[in-house]
Amino acid sequence: MIKRLLTVVADDTPLRRCIVWWVVAGVLQGLGFVLLVPVLSALLDGDTGTAAWWSLAMVGVLVVYAAVRYVAQLASYRAAIGLSKGLFQKLGDKVAVLPLGWFHGDRVGPLGRLTSKGVIDVMGVPAHMLRPIITAFVTPATLLVALVFFDWRLALATLAAVPFAFAAFRWTQSLVRKADGAHHDAAAEAGSRLVEFGQTQAVLRAYGRNVDGNQILDDALSGYRDAGRNLLTTAVPGLAGFVTVIQMAFTALLFVGVAIATGGSLDAPELIAILVLIVRFVEPLLVAADIGGAMKMADATLDRADRLLNEPLLPEPATDDQRTLASGSLSVDLDAVGFGYDDERRVIHDLSLDVPAGSMTALVGPSGSGKTTVARLVARFWDVDEGAVRVDGTDVRDVPTEHLMSKVSIVFQETYLFAGTIADNLRLAKPDATGDELAEVARLARLDEMLERLPGGWDAEVGEGGTRLSGGERQRVSIARALLKDAPIVLLDEATAAIDPLNEVAIQNAIDTLRGDRTIIVIAHRLQTVVGADQIVVLDDGRVGERGTHDELLEHGGRYADFWRERERAVGWRISSGVGR
């Protein structure tokens, strides 16, 4: 754990320094305790003069101890500050350079916690935990060494207790670990059932499943309770064993001491003094056990930080090999691309695709066919495993990420807005945008209707993540933002899925105005939005199934023609409750 801390910080001297100071403080405290023996011996022998001198020595040790402690605590805080700043900086730097593909739903929450509360937890280790932990080992060790000088038999007896205590501790831990796995699983199940409970609440109610309790959830909660009970039933004997061993060791020492004293081979004053000393022996250990939990938490955080810091990055081109992209229209092509999110499953197989500069290509296909993946590979969310993705003939891996990003506008189905006003969110794309420019994109993205309706208009707050707006409104803001950015390559992934049909037509028109000098790749479920594309590519299980214009594909009579026929059938559909209608 402490070794781990040392590897996390760039400069480990402050941490090492404070460890050394606390070791010194621990030894001093042990020495002070040891001085009890001469004090007590002298007193019990009736030699109060000597006792007074030893007492004075004890006060001396105390003064030095107090000074060292102050210095050590100061060093601890310094180390904590350095550690947390270093960790914040390292994590922040890493997050900023992680490939875009790394960020998906279930990673973002834990990462947010790691970069805030997690670092604070770690900071607590040098600030507050180092002292009790180091003292727990150093002070008893000092006492033990001293004990050898007073009476080797008692020292040996004390020492003999150590492996027993250690074995009992390990045994307890292994018991707990075994039950802990099941407990952890039960907690995960209960947690995921609760998430489901929250997400499906409307359905649960509409089907009356909240009235007499939700059996699935209740089973999960009961299972969690049972796993907890199981953990207790396993852990309590373990804990009892551990405490018993410690107590027995102390009792045994008492008996050994009495035996030695009655045998007459040890002076009574010394025995008493040593017994008093042994009382001190156990105490620091118990304190250390108290903060074990907090240490474990910090350790788990370090684990996560380690893993994050070791995430592989997309290699940036060396400065000499960097290529910049031309201004103006840019073509996109994928050349025999193979890609998988993990080593086991390929999602894209040998896929080639040419998108000439200034043309519009639509990707069509069932969910899971790889449309989104293809679009994201163009923006280098990940690197391909085989083949190459090229922009204007240049491999995207040879272009600095920031430069590539400046050439691409992306609108996703799920959009993230920043806490702030609508205007703030648009200006993200172009900090120096004029009012006219804002008004223009607002008109194109049908934002004007929204601005009229929302209190505050441009200054309406969107809430954290944009949650004060509806899904369709968020999409309109993000489309406006992409329009404002005015990049030569535009990727639209279900960009209008949440927008109502009337506004959608308007926005579709806005997208059409982009055509001409911009290269557009669009993914859409609604086929009518793609009929005008220069090229329609039907993806099937990560491969190109068919390609051509709308008319060509209909002519071809393949999968696309099937989709289209289905849609034609769907278009005239009307709802009726008609008995006999």
Binding site: F88, G92, G472, V505, L527, G578, V579
Partner: protein, 602 residues
């Protein structure tokens, strides 16, 4: 020593009415009292071996030499006291832990029940992650308090009092002197904590900024990167983080002298030095015997040692109280009232009389809605987004109660109808499909858990999904999300099968703005057609073309009904609807123009 483990979400705002910690732990109060009593016995028994050392000294230095028999008796008494201490300590621990285990289930069930009865809008403000955190983590956060802190505090109070009582009996003057460093330490602690509240508030503020910065940085990074603004978000996060760290430094370093002095005053070494020094002086003056002094050395520390334990315990109490506060707030959330003496609706007609609704009490989403829906008719709700049509539909399912007027089913106000009776009559098909991680069969049978397999298969056939389910690895027993990986369109059809099986006479249907899979759009429509036959239908319509056959179209704008009538009537009226209709027609003509000449070859 400011504690760095303060929960990030310490709330500064004024707490709403809440059920307190004491109320929450009431069910296990007697067990907790028992555990504390057991702990008190254990703590006192724990002092006996220490006193035995002093007794041993007395015996060894007794006039006339030590009596071996007595020495052994003392040792045995000490050993027995150990056993007693151990037994009672473990007993107390077991009692609290098992009680805590039961209490957690109890509170979790209460929370689940309660959340199932609050207005649905509550779930808009509390996402599923929060719910999980509340029920799993916050309830779990009470564990340190219930299982440990109470017994720890008992021990930390009983031990020093018992020890000091003993010492006062042995020699009250010396006992008083032993109290001096303790008093100094406590005084210094008090001084250290004088500005604590203010400092802590500032610290929490800085921490909150880091939290916000971190969340925004992490969640928005993909967006900022595509706009080349990663540097700015990064800087903002790092700045907030460094401000927090610097604030921490200012705070602790400013207090370092006082806090170090307090801790040194309370350290065992100080107590021992005081006893050694003054003890030597007392002994040399014959005010106390050397053997009596021994007991001071072993018991003197009992006074200061629990301070640390108390500190930890207080921290645990505080954290648990905060968690309990969050739990209590949810439990105090008002529920939709349940009729004590439910009435049965006369028929399946629906009427809304002067209905108004507001989510926040400020802005009206619905106003003065007067609407009567006859059994067996098709009513379409139409209007731009934000016009209140979805809200109106949800009032019919009693996801909320209206803030003005009344919604009646068969002449009975919804709150006066038993909930299962209401849901037997009114069903809802949502735009977003919500399937549970359970077998496909269980998902279909959600509203009628007693349905048999052939009934389930029958509705699956009607919903055009039976064949697909048969292809799943375990057929109807495949678990959704595990064995059964369904596409959006397939999931939509499962949810239609669910509604078919529940077979409510009234169905509220939220038409999808888009279909999840282009290839299954027509199949979904076929399934829907089977579902809608013979029911009272209320449709939230996004495309006017699908509802031209409606018996009545209700046009909403800004929460009010502006027009009602059939399609033809409304088109003739030349108002809001007819404007939307012609815009819609123009839009679809525009689409058709795009595909002109692209007829599907037969």
């Amino acid at each position: 020593m400011p504690d760095t483990n303060t929960p990030a979400d310490a709330q500064a705002e004024i707490p709403p009415p809440s059920i307190g910690l004491g109320e929450l732990i009431r069910p296990i109060r007697s067990k907790l009292i028992l555990a504390c009593l057991m702990q008190a016995v254990a703590s006192i028994a724990g002092l006996v071996p220490l006193i035995a050392i002093a007794e041993l000294a007395k015996e060894l230095f007794a006039d006339g030499g030590a009596d071996d028999g007595r020495l052994w008796t003392i040792a045995i008494v000490a050993a027995v006291a150990f056993v007693v201490r151990l037994a009672f300590y473990l007993g107390a621990l077991s009692v609290t832990h098992y009680a805590d285990n039961d209490l957690q289930l109890e509170i979790r069930r209460q929370l689940a029940d309660h959340m199932g009865s609050v207005p649905l809008g509550w779930f808009d403000d509390h996402d599923s992650g929060e719910i999980k955190k509340l029920v799993v983590d916050d309830v779990g956060a009470m564990h340190p308090l219930v299982a440990h802190a109470l017994t720890d505090i008992t021990s930390a109070v009983v031990t020093p009092i018992a020890a000091m009582t003993y010492l006062f009996i042995v020699d009250w003057q010396l006992a008083l002197i032993v109290l001096i460093p303790f008093a100094i330490g406590i005084f210094l602690y008090g001084k250290q904590f004088s500005g604590y509240g203010e400092n802590m508030a500032k610290y929490n503020e800085a921490l909150e900024e880091v939290n916000v910065g971190a969340v925004e940085f992490v969640q928005g990074i993909s967006v900022v990167k595509t706009f080349g603004q990663a540097g700015r978000a990064h800087r903002r996060f790092i700045d907030a983080a460094f401000r927090l760290v610097d604030y921490f430094w200012d705070w602790v370093s400013g207090l370092l002298r006082v806090s170090s002095a307090a801790e040194v005053a309370l350290s065992p070494l100080t107590t021992l030095a005081v006893i050694a020094g003054t003890g030597s002086w007392f002994v040399s003056n014959d005010w106390i015997s050397a053997t009596d002094l021994v007991v001071f050395f072993v018991l003197g520390l009992a006074l200061t040692a629990p301070i640390l334990t108390l500190g930890y315990a207080m921290d645990e109490v505080q954290q648990a109280s905060r968690a309990a506060g969050r739990i209590g707030t949810v439990l105090a959330e008002p529920v939709l009232p349940e009729a004590a003496d439910p009435a049965v609706p006369a028929d399946n007609s629906i009427s809304l009389d002067g209905v108004g609704f507001s989510y926040d009490g400020e802005r009206d989403v619905l106003r003065d809605i007067e609407l009567r829906i006859e059994p067996g008719t098709l009513t379409a709700l139409v209007g731009p987004s934000g016009s209140g049509k979805s809200t109106l539909a949800k009032l019919l399912c009693r996801f909320w109660d209206p803030t003005a007027g009344a919604v009646r089913l068969g002449e009975v106000e919804l709150p006066d109808i038993a909930r299962d009776e209401l849901y037997r009559r009114v069903g809802f098909v949502f735009q977003e499909v919500q399937l549970l991680r359970a077998s496909v069969a269980d998902n279909i049978a959600l509203g009628r858990p007693d349905a048999n397999r052939s009934e389930i298969e029958q509705v699956a056939r009607l919903a055009q999904i039976h064949d697909r389910i048969e292809q799943l690895p375990d057929g109807y027993d495949s678990i959704v999300g595990e064995g059964a990986l369904l596409s959006g369109g397939e999931a939509q059809r499962v949810s239609i099968a669910r509604a078919l099986l529940a077979d409510p006479p009234i169905l509220v249907f939220d038409e999808a703005t888009s279909f999840a899979d282009p290839e299954s759009e027509a199949a979904i429509q076929d399934a829907l057609s089977n579902l809608t036959i013979g029911r009272t239908l209320i449709v939230i319509a996004h495309r006017l073309s699908t509802i031209v056959d409606a018996d009545r179209i209700v046009v909403l704008r800004d929460g009010q009904i502006v027009e009602t009538g059939t399609h033809d009537e409304l088109v003739d009226l030349g108002g809001e609807y007819s404007r939307q209709w012609s815009a819609d027609q123009r839009a679809s003509r525009a689409r058709d123009a795009l595909v002109e000449g692209s007829e599907v070859p037969a």
